[in-house]
């Protein structure tokens, strides 16, 4: 098995001066990345941080994160990268559950880190990835000071640091605080998924990949490691403002872009100038995580002309599941493709029986890339003998191509019918003047579940609830017609850019 730290050592030897990470004006080469990560690892070891210990990272996107991530891989520590959009309650939940022995944070996170420290849940070894100028922040060592203390003795990887089945990272999902679980990712899963992804996407040293999501997401980590494997450049993009994203795509000559459909829908919706931009370097887009409404997907495909589209499916619990190759894009519209090498995908019904082609059921992933489970939560029903029960609904066609339908927990039974919020959203979004729609179903005492639709009107539209309801009645079966409509400026988003349904449900938006 080729470990993540071996990938970096090899690339630092073969392409020492090549740009590894671009962080605004800062450009870090592979030899610098290898050297800085070794020095951080040596510093941590001098502070008695050892293999198997958890180390936290809480940061907005910056180059130093990559230094730390590789340092932890070298030491065999378990990385706990905490989504920077987590607020206090979830930050505390993750810290309490993983008990980190050292904690890295960006200076912009000084205030929440100080609040966590005052609760007594943080370790004494706090390292700030920038300057600790803010006096109200926690007492912490600056990373550069820590590196100056390093006197450069020879480095040897921790004994057995790359044993495949041991945890390399714990990644926390979004969702409500109590339900947020830490998914264990092993060294073997990181290594094998990196090799498979790089092969699938034909990544090479000439690639320049843009990284738009925090490293607490498997997709962002996967991109960092595939780029490192092949000697490609990873360009960090902290701002999600469409103008900034487009500017980076052009100026950094981006060749590969991994994002959720909502991200592209936001660009199309908020930045009409995108349609007139040219991206001659953009070799591929990979899309994962949600249903992409077909008309918008085809609009994006038309704008991007020569760019290849890879439609993917995966969960963090099973890292990478399927991929639709660009050659199949036109022939299999709406599909997320065939299982990756070593992966088996099955559709099962409520009783756990295998569904025939065409029938919708839960997607079950077995074989390669499966996590050993959730951190400190043995026996969760997601992980079963027959594989990972993803909680996602899908169907397979006669040729074994997967179609992602939606989340099982958003599906409701109403008047005996199965209702998929995604289908109602797709209908609402065909109405003139509707820019985006999100539908949540909330149980309601007495009268059964109610369907709440949240609409974002297009700019300068005079959309009225009457028009929306007339269209719903005309095109949806009676059990799918929304009970309530609400108009919003924008929809809450997760850090990847997906519509955050749990926040729509939670924020007092929906009366239960």
């Amino acid at each position: 098995m080729l470990s993540i730290s071996e990938m970096l050592s090899r690339t630092a030897r073969d392409h020492p001066d090549k740009e590894a990470i671009v962080d605004r004006g800062l450009r870090v080469s592979f030899s610098e990345l290898a050297e800085r990560s070794t020095r951080i690892a040596r510093f941590l070891r001098s502070r008695d941080i050892e293999k198997g210990m958890r180390v936290g990272i809480y940061s907005s996107k910056c180059a130093a994160e990559a230094d730390v991530i590789f340092a932890l891989a070298k030491l065999g520590c378990i990385m706990v990268h905490i989504n920077p959009s987590f607020r206090d309650a979830k930050l505390h939940h993750v810290i309490e559950e993983t008990e980190p022995s050292a904690f890295f944070f960006h200076p912009c996170k000084s205030a929440p880190v100080e609040r966590a420290r005052q609760r007594g849940i943080l370790p004494p070894l706090l390292i700030c990835l920038g300057e600790t100028a803010d006096r109200s922040g926690p007492p912490a060592l600056e990373l550069e000071t820590a590196l100056e203390q390093d006197h450069g003795s020879a480095w040897a990887d921790a004994p057995g640091s790359s044993e495949g089945e041991e945890p390399a990272a714990i990644l926390y999902t979004s969702g409500t605080t109590a339900s947020s679980k830490g998914i264990i990712v092993t060294h073997r899963v990181l290594s094998e998924s990196t090799l498979v992804s790089a092969h699938l996407l034909q990544n090479a040293a000439s690639d320049r990949l843009i990284s738009v999501t925090p490293f607490s997401f498997d997709g962002a980590l996967s991109q960092l490691f595939t780029a490192t494997l092949v000697g490609a450049t990873l360009v960090l993009q902290g701002s999600h403002f469409p103008k900034d994203v487009v500017t980076t795509m052009v100026s950094e000559k981006i060749t590969g872009f991994h994002a959720v459909p909502s991200f592209w829908r936001m660009i199309l919706d908020q930045y009409p100038a995108f349609a007139d931009c040219a991206f001659p370097h953009l070799r591929y887009l990979s899309l994962i995580g949600e249903v992409f409404p077909e008309d918008e997907l085809m609009r994006l495909k038309r704008i991007l002309g020569e760019t290849d589209f890879y439609m993917m499916y995966g969960t963090t619990e099973a890292f990478r599941s399927t991929c639709l190759a660009p050659a199949d894009f036109a022939r299999k519209p709406g599909s997320v493709g065939r299982p990756l090498p070593g992966v088996k995908i099955e559709i099962v019904d409520e009783e756990g029986r295998s569904c025939p082609a065409g029938k919708i059921g839960e997607i079950v992933h077995s074989g390669a890339f499966v996590s050993p489970g959730y951190w400190k939560r043995n026996g969760d029903a997601t992980f079963r003998r027959d594989g990972v029960h993803t909680g996602d609904l899908g169907r397979l066609d006669e040729e074994g191509y997967l179609y992602f339908v939606g989340r099982k927990d958003t599906m409701i039974k109403r008047l005996g019918f199965q209702v998929y919020p995604e289908e109602i959203e797709a209908c609402l979004e065909t109405i003139d003047g509707v820019s985006m729609a999100a539908v949540v179903c909330a149980p309601d005492r007495g009268s059964g579940p109610r369907i709440h639709a949240f609409l974002v009107p297009a700019a300068s539209s005079d959309l009225s609830p009457d028009v929306v309801m007339r269209r719903c009645r005309a095109s949806l079966p009676h059990y799918m017609i929304p009970d309530e409509l609400a108009f919003r400026f924008a929809l809450p988003r997760t850090a990847t850019g997906k519509v955050d349904r749990s926040r729509l449900l939670a924020a007092g938006e929906v009366r239960r």
Binding site: R87, G238, S239, F241, P242, A490
Partner: protein, 104 residues
């Protein structure tokens, strides 16, 4: 959204007047963002999105507020992190746009 009385600079064209005006813009912007986020903002040069004080959900409210309060029109090309990330950036944008409106 509540209705704000528009702050439109009409007569203050002297250097001192511009300074006084930019101070008012700053107070208005900081006041609005503090009310929106329920957080006290001391450093006007720190990035409010990185810190998690503002989220993408707030951008459209912010745009609507600026357009309504200062009677300006903001397009997608005006919205980037350098401008919208900090109070300094927002104040700079508003005063520059108002300056353009004034000049013949």
């Amino acid at each position: 959204m509540s209705v704000h009385s528009p702050i439109v600079d009409t007569a203050e064209t002297s250097k001192e007047g511009t300074h006084v005006h930019s101070h008012r813009v700053r107070e208005t912007m900081a006041g609005y963002i503090e009310a929106l986020t329920n957080e006290r903002i001391t450093d006007h040069s720190s990035n409010l999105f990185e810190a998690g004080v503002l989220t993408s959900l707030d951008v459209l409210s912010l745009v609507a507020f600026i357009e309504e309060t200062f009677m300006l029109e903001i397009s997608g090309d005006d919205i980037d992190m350098d401008t919208f990330g900090t109070i300094d950036g927002l104040v700079g944008m508003v005063t520059a746009m108002q300056g353009r409106h004034r000049s013949p």
